[in-house]
């Protein structure tokens, strides 16, 4: 066997495409966004349609409003995506979001400094994620059951902690985190957070060993283990990140409302799962990407935003979003069947 650090010259300058047979090809949308392309296309169409339909849609103030609405959904959807890629599911993100927000708020109310309080909230989320991950990876319990249990535990804990009442008042300095904008471009802070989380996650998934391992575990955990992939560590890390990102969402929600809401985040786990599925992720694992999940979250948010602008009954919007999930999955199935035969 020859020396490893000497790849064939033919391969040296290769781009993103296939090295086996070099052929002339145009750069397509799918080449850039890879596994996430579908959701982004739907999103672009939706943006175009709403721009034509409503004059208010493509205005700075509405887009700022939209980005504030979707940022928190988007952040927890990305955490959810990592779990879904391993063929798992995290039902506890909504409850963890509520708990982390209220822990942060309680700490501040009891005189802790804002940065330390935030770290406390994030720590609680990450710790719960690690606990979920250990039960899934080491005790080999089904993810659905583990996180269903945690959904109840975390929500119960936050109600006990706050006696089910809103935690306030919180200082303005805390509220500025989510409600402020950056001084140069004037974009909402929340939007920046979403961008950072999505871009970093996309990079991790595509370029790092850890990212590759996530897809491998989702594809076939036993094959992955026999190829030397540290399957249990990958699983624990994935649930820990999902818990951490849920806590980030919780802190941001508390900051946006400038209060700790004990029921905050109720039902968000289903929104996060919906965002992943609409963005092209498969609940069977190993399919999907961060841009897709973010696109899925923004699609849902944009539909709600557009509905508000045109005064559409929100109950109808629920029906539309539900139908969208079915269409996304059916489309995916249809594609899969075609490529298999």
């Amino acid at each position: 066997m020859s020396v490893r650090n000497n790849p064939e010259p033919a391969a040296a300058g290769a781009g993103d495409g296939a090295p086996a047979v070099r052929e002339e090809r145009v750069l397509t949308f799918g080449d850039v966004f890879g596994r996430d392309a579908g959701g982004l296309i739907v999103l672009l169409i939706l943006f175009g349609a709403l721009t034509l339909w409503s004059e208010q849609f493509l205005t700075i103030s509405n887009l700022e409003n939209l980005s504030r609405q979707v940022a928190i959904y988007g952040i927890i959807a990305v955490g959810q995506l990592l779990v879904i890629l391993t063929a798992g599911i995290d039902l506890s993100v909504g409850s963890v979001l509520g708990l982390a927000g209220c822990v942060t708020a309680e700490l501040i109310v009891h005189g802790t400094g804002v940065p330390v309080a935030i770290l406390g909230g994030l720590g609680v989320g990450a710790a719960i994620g690690v606990f979920n991950g250990v039960l899934v990876a080491h005790a080999k319990l089904p993810p659905f059951i583990v996180t269903l249990g945690m959904l109840g535990i975390a929500r119960g804990a936050v109600l006990v902690l706050t006696s089910a009442s809103t935690v306030q008042p919180l200082p303005d300095s805390f509220g500025k985190i989510a409600n402020g904008s950056d001084p140069i471009l004037g974009l909402p802070n929340l939007l920046w957070m979403l961008i950072v989380v999505v871009v970093v996650t996309a990079f991790v998934l595509r370029r790092t060993v850890f990212g590759r391992y996530i897809y491998a575990v989702g594809s076939n955990p036993e094959s992955a283990r026999l190829a030397g992939v540290p399957v249990t560590r990958v699983l624990v890390a994935v649930y820990a990140i999902a818990g951490f990102l849920a806590a980030v969402g919780g802190v941001l929600l508390a900051s946006r409302l400038n209060a700790g809401i004990p029921t905050g985040g109720t039902g968000y786990e289903l929104n996060a799962i919906a965002a992943c599925v609409i963005g092209g992720a498969s609940l069977f694992g190993a399919k999907g990407g961060a841009y897709g999940a973010a696109a899925g979250a923004i699609i849902v948010g944009t539909l709600q935003n557009g509905g508000n602008l045109k005064n559409i009954d929100p109950f109808y919007l629920q029906i539309i979003i539900g139908a969208l999930i079915l269409i996304a999955v059916a489309f995916d199935q249809f594609q899969g069947r075609r490529s298999r035969s």
Binding site: M1, S2, R4, N5, N6, P7, E8, A10, A11, A12, A14, G17, A18, P19, A20, V21, R207, T208, V209, F210, R212, Y213, Y215, A216, G218, S219, N220, E222, S223, A224, R225, L226, A227, G228, V229, P230, G285, A286, K287, S339, R340, S341
Partner: protein, 525 residues
């Protein structure tokens, strides 16, 4: 083997007229022609073998016969009357039965329920368990399983028995034609013999049999005629006696394969690459010791359930072990941790590619590089240029045919998938490679290539261990054969000069003593 039940046998009297005849069958998937203008006649009382490499169109032909797919053109007649495009149910009603390669039984249901699945005895929708058991027992008697309790869960049975249950299920539909699709892939030598006897008995009862297998010996053992396909076209259909081993391979491959096994002009050095001392895989009481030297190929033979796979898995750390040490190049490898084993320079090609090897949703490139990612990354970032270089080099050297490394690995044929897995371990520069049934489900042409690679690897100084239930393969490939029995090593033979009988004798002395539990362990893993 001669206890047939005459009262239910002979659905048709033996006649020279073909039961089934296909004329000009053609099928294309998009631009790819899977089958072109193929004729086939199946006659009662005759075993027709279907031979061809992977991708020659055998499975397409079977699917056309069973109604699983529609052909594009050609006629399909049963008893000289055209039956058009049958659905699977219609094909079954016309008497076409299939025993599938991957068993079609439902493992969590009982034997009886599986046998009677399509027509559970029931009164107004409520099942009648007594009647079900009675009918099931009758069906089991036909395959000499009269003592099997119909309430047993199918998943608890060893694979060979499941196969018989499957045959009983097919027989229950009174078929006139029985198609066997690779029925022996998971069976041991002795079980294969028993199955072949059973098939001959079915033939003598007047069934028309079509037999599909990669094992040429089996075809010669039971075939009356052989139909050879190559690249979707009919090469010939002739009496089996007109062929010998070499001429059959030559017609299947279309070129002559000089020697299946690589020449053994390797030099085995004194350098010990793998040293196993006192190793006890879980559930095994006798410690196992052996060594593999640089340049050496050690074969491990043994009956199904003799602990071959368990030994390999224990060495690689796929399962834990109860004691003993494993050393690679003198360094002890921690037991029960595949990741450490990979880092120490071990590689395992598992028997069950789909379940224990491939990452089916991922691309060829990702599958080939997965075990080597730690090596080709800096600060956890995968060096993509290096990754592509490695994939190019190792898959290229294995002459893998694929349009692009970015296509999903699931789109490849069995032999090519095996090459991808092989490349995975070449990329890690493994020092010792463990092969568990390396050519299972792989066609003749690809087999020769895989043998050549194994020989080349040993020649480069690796230590190689090959487990196979196919004795000619073990004897042809290995320098030395370890024969296992009941979880421990029963003896060692130099491959040169040893015969299959020698191996079988060692493997089966007191072979009747192996416990049922053992058998199930193996067949399930």
């Amino acid at each position: 083997m001669s206890t047939a039940t005459p009262e239910r046998a002979r659905p048709t009297p033996p006649a020279p007229e073909p039961v089934v005849s296909l004329r000009g069958a053609t099928k294309a998937y998009g631009p790819n022609k899977a089958l072109t203008d193929v004729d086939l006649d199946l006659r009662p009382g005759e075993v027709m073998c279907l031979a061809g490499e992977n991708g020659a169109g055998k499975s397409t032909l079977i699917k056309i016969l069973t109604g699983a797919i529609r052909r594009d053109s050609g006629t399909y007649s049963v008893d000289a009357s055209d039956i058009g495009d049958p659905s699977p149910t219609e094909a079954r009603e016309h008497g076409i039965g299939v025993v599938y390669q991957e068993l079609s039984l439902l493992p969590d249901l009982s034997v009886g329920e599986n046998l009677m699945m399509s027509r559970l005895p029931a009164r107004r929708g409520i099942t009648r368990p007594g009647e079900l058991r009675r009918q099931a027992r009758e069906m089991l008697e036909r395959v000499e399983l009269a003592d099997l309790d119909p309430d047993t869960e199918v998943g608890e049975l060893p694979l060979a028995k499941q196969q018989l249950v499957e045959i009983a299920k097919v027989l229950g539909e009174s078929p006139r034609v029985i198609i066997f699709d690779e029925p022996t892939t998971a069976l041991s030598e002795a079980e294969t013999h028993r199955l072949l006897d059973k098939i001959m008995q079915l033939r003598d009862e007047g069934h028309a049999i079509m037999y599909v297998s990669h094992h040429l010996e089996e075809m010669f053992a039971i075939g009356d005629r052989v139909t050879i396909l190559r690249d979707g076209c009919l090469v010939t259909s002739a009496p089996m006696g007109e062929f010998d081993h070499d001429s059959l391979i030559a017609s299947m491959v279309g070129r002559k394969i000089e020697s299946l096994y690589p020449a053994s002009d390797r030099t085995v050095t004194d350098q010990v690459r793998l040293k196993i001392s006192g190793l006890r895989p879980a559930g095994v009481t006798t410690p196992i010791d052996f060594e593999v030297r640089s340049g050496e190929i050690v074969g491990i033979a043994g009956l199904l359930g003799s602990g071959r796979t368990e030994l390999l898995r224990a060495i690689f750390g796929a399962d834990g072990c109860e004691g003993g040490t494993i050393e690679v190049d003198g360094k002890v490898v921690k037991c029960g941790d595949p990741r450490r084993a990979v880092q120490a320079g071990l590689g395992l090609l598992t028997e069950d590619r789909k379940r224990l090897g491939l990452l089916l949703e991922l691309t060829i490139r990702e599958n080939a590089s997965i075990a080597d990612l730690d090596e080709i990354s800096r600060f956890t970032l995968v060096d993509r240029k290096e990754e592509r270089g490695i994939v190019d080099r190792y898959l290229g050297s294995l002459r893998l045919r694929a349009a692009s490394w970015e296509q999903p690995v699931s789109s490849l044929s069995g032999g090519n998938q095996q090459k991808v897995l092989l490349a995975r371990w070449l990329a890690t520069k493994a020092k010792v490679l463990l092969f568990d049934e390396p050519t299972k489900g792989v066609d003749v042409g690809a087999k020769a290539e895989i043998y050549k690679v194994i020989g080349d690897l040993a020649a480069e100084g690796l230590g190689v261990v090959v487990v196979s239930s196919y004795l000619p393969e073990v004897l042809g490939l290995a320098d030395r054969v370890l024969v296992m029995r009941g979880g421990s090593i029963a003896g060692e033979l130099p491959a040169a000069g040893a015969t299959e009988e020698d191996v079988l004798r060692l493997a089966s002395v007191g072979g009747g003593q192996r416990t049922d539990g053992f058998e199930t362990e193996e067949t399930r893993s």
